[in-house]
Amino acid sequence: MQVPAQVEYEQAASVEHALDLLARSGPEARILAGGHSLIPMMKLRLAQPETLIDINGLSELAFLEVTGDELRIGALTRHAGLLAAAGAGEHFPILHDAERVIADPVVREWGTIGGSLCQADPSEDLSAVFAALRATMVIRHPAGIRTVPAREFFTGPYETVVAPGEILTEIRVAIRPGGGSSYQKVGRRVGDWPVGAAGAALWLDGDVISGTGIGLTAVGARHFVAAEAEEFLRGRPATEENFGRAGQIAAENCQPVSDQRGPAEYKRHLASELTTRALRAALRRAAPRRAGGQRRPGDG
């Protein structure tokens, strides 16, 4: 039987209240969102916070909206809420690709976007997704807000720039025309964490890649990003050959480790192959809009 250690518990009534509770409870206090990472860690005694500050009642953090040229996702949005949001999936199919294969439908009703990102598990799917999308994280602290690029958010395994006393409140993604995106994951079974996964976002100017973001997870990519592969693609034509090369470059620059999910060499292979597949699918999704043509069935 797994039992968490003793802990104090507070329910926050507002973001200000949560910040206040964090300040009063000291560095060993933790925000409790869906609890689907934190509670298992507490049961295994891998986490032993002194105080939990439950933010599940904060509807002000559970929002999802497209405002002007930006998608804004509140930190308390559940995986299921993001998966159900048609607008988010239309602008960024990568979000729905990923959410369809994160955990299972019951877990997706509880796990939150903010919790996933703050957990910063080296195999977290959304870390790669928001790195690929070059999202911006909005962090509240007692004196105001600060914003941090997703690529600077993760400082190591299970570590982010969110300091004690701070709360991640939302994630913003800029909407730019002429783009496509995709997420490709290989897991051992339905609902499992990835053995390896890659997300790609692509923006085109004619046939030339004007911008790209490639996120990798579970394969030991620094900051969940394939920076060298992105660098290679920028300004080059969106061809199968260049996508293949980008995959190789991504694989050469990651540091996978062997574990119960698979050997390092297999993960390196996945980094290459899944990067190429994600780029290919992102191009297919960008292309019809670029040409003003019809989407083909299955382009999704």
Partner: protein, 172 residues
């Protein structure tokens, strides 16, 4: 210790609990509602699924204090007014269980699915139950059982007919 009030299957229960107490143990040990099973303890098997408000949750992965002021529905609250839920009848008719260990969780998630999607395809049923494990049936009869419920008046169950709504005790 913390004072909490949880409305379980329409009845309000006030208890003093440790914040670290998991909801599954609150239900089984504090309230004696042993219908919800406690299996893997790692949020993987789904034997412990109950509803917290309108949403299924693996109750080994939430704290009882998180349910304070909320409604919980367990397998004991599936039958309404002495009438078995069509999901329960379906599992009986279609031999949807063998040892029965996974069954309460399967039925709670199935009920949730049918409330949102009254005529689900077998693929939809498999997807909805994909976070739950059955070591006996091979799943075929579970899928048939849920289809049976869909075909036999799954819609006859009024939303809000269950749990707190009947007594109106504690707001969500």
């Amino acid at each position: 210790m913390r004072q909490i009030t949880v409305t379980v299957n329409g009845e309000a229960h006030a208890r003093e609990v440790e914040p670290r107490l998991l909801l599954i143990h609150f239900l089984r040990d504090e309230l004696g509602l042993t219908g919800s099973h406690w299996g893997c303890d790692t949020s993987n098997c789904g034997a412990c699924v109950v509803w917290l408000d309108e949403v299924p949750v693996k109750s080994c992965t939430v704290l009882a204090v998180m349910a304070d002021g909320h409604r919980v529905r367990t397998v004991e609250g599936l039958a309404v007014g002495g009438r078995l839920d069509p999901v329960q009848v379906g599992f009986s008719e279609c031999h949807g269980l063998q040892c029965g260990f996974c069954t309460p969780g399967m039925m709670m998630t199935a009920r949730w699915l049918l409330d949102r999607s009254p005529d689900p395809s077998p693929a939809e049923i498999r997807e909805a139950l994909s976070g739950q494990v059955c070591r006996c049936t091979g799943y075929e009869n579970i899928v048939r059982s849920v289809r049976w419920a869909a075909e036999h008046g799954a819609g006859g169950h009024e939303p809000g007919e269950h749990s707190g709504a009947a007594t109106g005790s504690v707001p969500a």
